[in-house]
C-alpha cells in the first residue's frame, strides 16, 4: 500500500503544478465539472433555488393562486415573521403552542432515546452474552421501516381498545383514550396534588400570548403516544452509534479497573462514560436536531389534534400553507424552524471539530492507563 501510494504520487505530482496542464491530467478541469454537473443541477434546482423562492414568498401574502413571482402578489415585508412573535392573534398562539409542544417533545424524546440506546448498547456489547447480533438487528429494525407504516401500527397499539390499554388493564390501570386526550401531563400531575385550576398568578399573563399555565401544561397524553413511537424507532440507530463508540474503549482499561476493585457502576461512570463522551455528544445533538423535525408521525397519527397539543412547527408550517393557503406564513414558520435547527447543527459541528483536536490526548490516555496499572 505504502509503496503504491508513493509511486502514484511520483507519477502524478512529480512534475509539479506546471505539468498538470499537459499529460494525463489535461482535461480534468472539464471532466470534474461534467462529473459533478448532474448533482449540482438537481441540488441547485430543487434545494437552493427553492429555498430562495420560499424566502421571497415568506415576505408576501401569496395564497397559492397563479405565480408568486408577479407584481400582483401583495408584498408584506417582515409581517409574516412579526405576527409569529409580537402580534397577539391566532397565528402567534398556534405558533407558540407548536413551539411549546416541541420543547416538551424534545425534553422527553432526547433523554429517553439516549438512555435507552446507551443501555441497549451496553448489554449488546457485553462479551459474556451470546446471540447478540440477533438482538442488535431486532433493536435496529424499527429504524429502517417506513415512518408512515409504523405510525399505522402504533395507531392500532394506542387505540382505545388497543394493545397498550389491554396491557395497562392487566395491571389494573384504566388506559386513556390516547388520541382524544389533550390533557397535559404536568397539568395531570398538578391535579394529582390538588391543583386543578390554574392559580391566579399563572392564569393570565405570560410570554408570547400563552399564559404561564398553558406553557406549563407538559406534553399531552396524545403527544406521549407519539413520543413513545419515536423513542422506539430511533433508539436502534443511536444504539449502533454507541456500539461503535464502545468499541473504542480498550478492553485492557476495563479489565484494569476491575482488578483495581472498581464496582460495575464506578467502571461505567469513571471509565466507560468519559471514553464515549464524544459519541454521547453526537447522539444528544443528532437527537435534538432530529426531534425538531418531527412531521410524518404527526401527519399520520394526529394531524395536530387533539386541541392542537400535537401541533409541531414542521406540521404547522405545512398546515398553514397547504390547508389554509397562507403560503407566506407557512414559509415564515419553516424559516424560523430552519434557524433553530441550523443553530443546533452549528453547535454540533463546532464541538465535533474540537473533539478531533482532542484526539492526541485520548491516545495518550489509552496508552498510559494500562501501563500505570
Amino acid at each position: 500500500m505504502a509503496t503504491e501510494t508513493l509511486t502514484a504520487e511520483a507519477t502524478a505530482g512529480g512534475g509539479g503544478p506546471r505539468r498538470r496542464r499537459g499529460g494525463i491530467r489535461s482535461n480534468e478541469n472539464l471532466a470534474g465539472w461534467l462529473f459533478v454537473a448532474p448533482v449540482i443541477v438537481i441540488l441547485g434546482l430543487f434545494l437552493l433555488l427553492p429555498i430562495l423562492m420560499a424566502l421571497w414568498v415568506s415576505l408576501t401574502d401569496w395564497n397559492g393562486q397563479g405565480s408568486p413571482f408577479t407584481g400582483d402578489v401583495p408584498f408584506v415585508g417582515g409581517h409574516n415573521y412579526t405576527q409569529l412573535f409580537t402580534e397577539d392573534g391566532l397565528a402567534r398562539r398556534d405558533f407558540m403552542t407548536s413551539i411549546r409542544n416541541n420543547i416538551y417533545y424534545v425534553a422527553i424524546v432526547v433523554p429517553a432515546q439516549t438512555v435507552l440506546a446507551l443501555g441497549l448498547a451496553l448489554v449488546v456489547n457485553n462479551r459474556m452474552l451470546k446471540g447478540k447480533s440477533f438482538f442488535r438487528s431486532a433493536f435496529y429494525f424499527p429504524s429502517v421501516t417506513s415512518s408512515v407504516a409504523i405510525s399505522v401500527v402504533f395507531l392500532f397499539l394506542f387505540a382505545n381498545s388497543g394493545a397498550v390499554n389491554s396491557l395497562l388493564g392487566f395491571v389494573g390501570i384504566d388506559g386513556p383514550e390516547w388520541f382524544a386526550d389533550s390533557r397535559g401531563v404536568l397539568h395531570l400531575l398538578f391535579g394529582a396534588v390538588g391543583v386543578d385550576s390554574p392559580p391566579a398568578a399563572l392564569a393570565d399573563g405570560g410570554p408570547f400570548g400563552l399564559t404561564w399555565w398553558d406553557w406549563l401544561a407538559g406534553p399531552s397524553v396524545a403527544m406521549i403516544s407519539i413520543i413513545t413511537l419515536v423513542v422506539w424507532t430511533t433508539s436502534g440507530t443511536f444504539m449502533l452509534m454507541f456500539l461503535a463508540g464502545l468499541q473504542n474503549v480498550p478492553v485492557t482499561l476495563d479489565e484494569a479497573s476491575t482488578l483495581d476493585g472498581a464496582s460495575r457502576w464506578q467502571r461505567f461512570r469513571y471509565v466507560t462514560l468519559p471514553m464515549i463522551r464524544p459519541t454521547m455528544f453526537l447522539v444528544l445533538t443528532l437527537g435534538m436536531i432530529g426531534s425538531w423535525q418531527v412531521f410524518d408521525q404527526v401527519y399520520v397519527m394526529s394531524q395536530g389534534d387533539p386541541a392542537k397539543t400535537t401541533l409541531t412547527p414542521a406540521y404547522l408550517s405545512y398546515r398553514t400553507a397547504f390547508r389554509d393557503f397562507d403560503y407566506g406564513s407557512g414559509a415564515a414558520i419553516s424559516f424560523v424552524l430552519f434557524l433553530i435547527i441550523i443553530v443546533l447543527t452549528l453547535i454540533q459541528r463546532r464541538a465535533l471539530a474540537e473533539r478531533n483536536t482532542d484526539r492526541p490526548r485520548r491516545g495518550w490516555r489509552r496508552r498510559r492507563v494500562p501501563e500505570g496499572s
Binding site: 471532466a31 448533482v39 417506513s146 401500527v153 461503535a244
Partner: protein, 295 residues
C-alpha cells in the same frame, strides 16, 4: 501481571463469589435482551396477527398474535377496495428510478470530488457538507414552489427528479473513493483510457461495497419517502405507497375502523425493506457507524 497475583480475587472464596456474580450478570443480561427484544419486535408480531383477523376479533383481542378465525378478508379488501396496486406500481417505479439515478450521479460526483483536480472542488465539497445539514421538513413549501413554477407539480417527473441526487450519497462515495489506492487508475490513464472510461471500467468495479451500501440506502429512503410525495403530487393516481397509506388512515377510511385492512397494507409496505434488511444487514450497520464518524 504482577498485579494479578497480588490481588485478593485469587482466593477461592472470592472466586466463588465472582462466579456467582458472573452468573447473575449473565441472567440479567439475557433477561434484558429478551425483554427489549419483545418490546422491539412484538408490535410487528401484533401487526401480522391482527392483519389476518376479522374486525371484531382485532378489536376484542388486540394483544393476541393468533387470529381466530384466520381470514384473508383484510388483504382481499386491500387489493379490491383500495388503490393499493396502483400505489405499489408507483412506488416501484419511483424507487427504481431514484435508486439508479442516485447511485450513478452520486458516484460520478463523489469520484470527481475525491480524485479529479478541478477549479472550485474545495468550495463544492464545502457546499455538499452544508447541504447535508439542510433539514428536509423545512423544504416542504420550497419544493412545492419550484415544482409549481417549473410545471412539474402533479407529475411523475415531480415525484422523481428532485430525488435523483443527494448530498449524503455524494459524501459516502467520496469517502470511499479516497480510501482505495490511486495506482490502478493511474495505470489505466497512462494506458490512454479516458477519464470516464477509467471511472466506469476500473474504479466502479472496485467500489462494489460502497455501491451496494448506496443502493440499499437509496432504495430504503425512496421507498419510505413520504413528505416529498405530499408536496409534489395531489392526484390520487400518482400516490406512492406511504402517501396512499397515510391517505387510507387519515382520510378515506376514517379513524378507528378497519384495522386488519390498515395493518395489512402497512405490512405489505414494510416487507420489501424488511427483506433487504435481513439480507444486507451489514451494509445497514455500516451506514449507521459511518454516521458516527462523519457527524
Amino acid at each position: 501481571m504482577a498485579v494479578l497475583t497480588d490481588h485478593p480475587a485469587a482466593t477461592p472464596a472470592r472466586r466463588h463469589q465472582r462466579t456467582a456474580r458472573t452468573l447473575a450478570t449473565r441472567f440479567l443480561g439475557y433477561a434484558t435482551l429478551v425483554f427489549f427484544g419483545l418490546v422491539f419486535l412484538y408490535p410487528f408480531v401484533i401487526q401480522i396477527g391482527n392483519a389476518l383477523k376479522t374486525e371484531p376479533d382485532a378489536a376484542a383481542n388486540p394483544l393476541s398474535p393468533f387470529p381466530d378465525p384466520l381470514t384473508l378478508a383484510g388483504f382481499e379488501r386491500i387489493f379490491a377496495g383500495t388503490n393499493f396496486p396502483l400505489w405499489l406500481g408507483n412506488s416501484l417505479l419511483v424507487t427504481v428510478l431514484v435508486t439508479i439515478g442516485r447511485v450513478f450521479f452520486d458516484s460520478l460526483a463523489g469520484y470527481a470530488l475525491a480524485r479529479l483536480r478541478f477549479r472550485g472542488r474545495g468550495g463544492l465539497f464545502a457546499a455538499v457538507i452544508a447541504v447535508m445539514a439542510v433539514p428536509g421538513v423545512v423544504l416542504l413549501i420550497p419544493k412545492f414552489l419550484v415544482l409549481n413554477q417549473l410545471g412539474l407539480y402533479n407529475s411523475y417527473a415531480g415525484l422523481v427528479v428532485p430525488l435523483l441526487a443527494d448530498a449524503a450519497g455524494v459524501f459516502i462515495m467520496k469517502q470511499f473513493f479516497e480510501s482505495i489506492p490511486v495506482s490502478v487508475e493511474e495505470a489505466a490513464r497512462i494506458d490512454g483510457a479516458s477519464i470516464f472510461r477509467t471511472f466506469w471500467s476500473v474504479v466502479l468495479p472496485m467500489a462494489k461495497p460502497a455501491l451496494i451500501t448506496l443502493t440499499i440506502l437509496s432504495f430504503q429512503g425512496s421507498w419510505n419517502e413520504f413528505p416529498h410525495s405530499l408536496v409534489s403530487v395531489q392526484d390520487p393516481d400518482l400516490f406512492t405507497l406511504p402517501r396512499g397509506l397515510a391517505d387510507l388512515v387519515s382520510g378515506s377510511l376514517g379513524k378507528g375502523t378497519q384495522y386488519p385492512l390498515k395493518l395489512g397494507a402497512a405490512l405489505l409496505a414494510t416487507i420489501p425493506v424488511a427483506i433487504i434488511f435481513v439480507v444486507f444487514q451489514r451494509y445497514f450497520v455500516r451506514d449507521a457507524n459511518d454516521g458516527s464518524d462523519k457527524g
